[in-house]
């Protein structure tokens, strides 16, 4: 029951974040969505994710506030407003039709399939020595996945450094 209330709160905060005019308020509202997601992880019995989501959300908020501190407020409503909205809604309806077929194939909520995870839970402790199964999956059973994700992470960091650098530009300020 509390999960549904939390999801409704997240949907409400997301609507506020999308529709509000002030950019800084929008960033704060998306922070509310992220913190609600952290609580939802805690309800769904994923404490590692709740901690990580909390830290990442705060960092994300700092980055977004850094971008919006310049106060560039754009509110344009020109003649194509109706066309843009209608085409967007048609696109979303097309997506929802596809999602309807996908939702019918899903397992029921609360009854996961766990065909792979059964082995991980059974042999996780004796093969890796980690009492936290999530840790043993990340660092032992699926370590190559983690290696790939870390590669993506460092590529993104190099991208940020390359985009934001001032030294070496021709028209540096």
């Amino acid at each position: 029951m509390e999960l549904q209330v939390l999801l409704l709160f997240m949907i409400f905060a997301a609507v506020v974040a999308v529709e509000i005019e002030d950019l800084l308020s929008s960033v704060i509202a998306v922070g509310a969505v992220g913190l609600g997601l952290s609580l939802a992880f805690l309800i769904l019995k994923a404490p590692d994710l709740a901690i990580t989501q909390l830290v990442v959300e705060i960092l994300c908020l700092i980055i977004l506030i850094r971008a919006t501190i310049k106060k560039d407020l754009v509110l344009v409503k020109d003649g194509r407003w109706l066309f843009n909205t209608v085409s967007t809604l048609v696109f979303i309806c097309f997506f929802l039709v596809l999602a309807y077929f996908a939702l019918k194939e899903l397992p029921h909520f609360g009854q996961p399939i766990m065909r792979v995870a059964k082995e991980y839970i059974a042999y996780g402790l004796q093969e890796t020595g980690a009492t936290n199964i999530v840790t043993s999956v990340i660092l032992n059973f699926r370590a190559y996945d983690t290696l790939g994700e870390v590669t993506v992470l460092f590529t993104a960091v190099i991208g940020v450094l390359a985009v934001m650098r001032k030294i070496g530009r021709i028209n540096a300020k």
């Binding site: 969505v33 997601l37 939802a40 699926r142 934001m164």
Partner: protein
């Protein structure tokens, strides 16, 4: 099943924001909402009713654990999401330096 539908609604709000809005910061916020919805969907798939967190205890045997595999995948995806948001914001700040606006319809002059 209602949880999946609510998660889908959250995804659609983010999709609407990305497709419809014209401010770059709003588009980044929409991408963030989509990312939250997808992470939540993974965890909802792996949830077991009256389940326990996937952590073994010394003096008791836990039989009803939730699925640890989506949690392990989402744990790295969250960190990737932070890096992607940082990259997007860096590009947005650079665009604002160059064109003086966040409006995507005014960024037309693609000069080298």
């Amino acid at each position: 099943m209602i949880e999946f539908v609510l998660c889908l609604i959250l995804f659609c709000i983010g999709l609407y924001c990305v497709v419809r809005k014209r401010n770059i910061i709003k588009i980044i916020i929409g991408l963030g909402i989509i990312e939250y919805a997808v992470n939540l969907f993974f965890i909802l798939i792996g949830y077991r009713a009256q389940g326990r967190a996937p952590i073994l205890a010394k003096d008791q045997t836990v039989i009803n654990m939730v699925d640890p595999l989506p949690q392990a995948l989402v744990l790295t995806a969250i960190v990737i999401g932070l890096a992607v948001t940082a990259l997007l914001v860096a590009i947005a700040i650079r665009i604002h330096d160059k064109y003086g606006t966040f409006d995507i319809t005014k960024i037309r002059r693609l000069r080298g």
